[in-house]
């Protein structure tokens, strides 16, 4: 029930893929940054291309206790 790793540093232009290894569905959501994976069922993946430098704090919309940070350098 958490993002692993919770903090990830990437370079601008990198492709980042989240895969749901849990049984229940999750999302990758950061509303101000316009990041929204939609609901990912078990085993589903979603890829985001980080173009803008900065920090993106995201969460799972369904389980807001799950939080992560993407640092785009």
């Amino acid at each position: 029930m958490k993002f692993v790793p919770e903090r990830l540093e990437v370079a601008a232009g990198d492709r980042i893929t989240w895969t749901n290894r849990d049984i229940v569905p999750h999302t990758v959501t950061a509303q101000p940054a316009g990041v929204e994976s939609g609901e990912l069922a078990q085993g589903r993946s979603w890829t985001y291309i980080a173009r803008k430098k900065g920090e993106i704090d995201y969460l799972c919309r369904l389980h807001p206790v799950m939080r992560g940070t993407l640092v785009v350098k």
Binding site: M1, I23, V24, Q42, L62, H63, V65
Partner: protein, 173 residues
């Protein structure tokens, strides 16, 4: 009689505490499916009854998550050739659930929200205790045990979420 099991049954129905020994995998599979279905049903009732957005979101999460777990549990039981078998713990869970549903149906608005969330807090605590004290220690098949261990963090998150909503409902008084 397994003392650990006796304790967990005592949580859901003291009267049935002497009724059963250590559950086998078919019984465990039935308990898992029953426990999930109960919370899906309560969630559906809450979704249609509540006017509170936080309670609504919690109920939706219960329907989604417990539905996902049951889909997985059903698929695993089929794969392993385990036929879920009704048992006294499942019966006690169902009895408790029908009493809870009957009580909730009599309530409205704030009283409904409070009763639903209070019960969800207690219920998830009971299910977590049952997972730790009975289901995981008793499960023989490694995949069945693994599934139960894998859903535990979600149930813990539900308990934390329910407690958070409970605290927020308390502030509104």
């Amino acid at each position: 009689m397994n003392c650990k099991h006796l304790f967990a049954i005592a949580l859901v129905a003291p009267a049935l505490a002497l009724a059963q020994g250590k559950p086998g995998d078919p019984q465990i599979a039935h308990i898992v499916v029953t426990a999930n279905q109960i919370d899906i049903d309560a969630g559906k009732l809450a979704k249609s009854h509540t006017k509170n957005k936080e309670v609504q979101a919690f109920a939706r999460q219960m329907i989604t998550d417990h539905g996902a777990v049951n889909k997985q549990a059903g698929a695993l039981a089929k794969k392993l050739g385990v036929k879920p078998e009704d048992n006294d713990t499942s019966k006690a869970l169902k009895k408790g659930a029908s009493e809870n549903m009957a009580n909730l149906k009599k309530l409205k608005d704030g009283a409904f929200d409070k009763a639903y969330i209070d019960h969800e807090v207690t219920y998830h605590q009971q299910v977590l205790d049952a997972i730790d004290k009975v289901l995981v220690p008793s499960a023989q098949n490694a995949e069945l045990k693994g599934l139960i261990e894998k859903v535990r963090p979600a149930f813990q998150a539900h308990l934390d979420h329910a407690k958070h909503v409970q605290a927020d409902l308390g502030k509104k008084k």
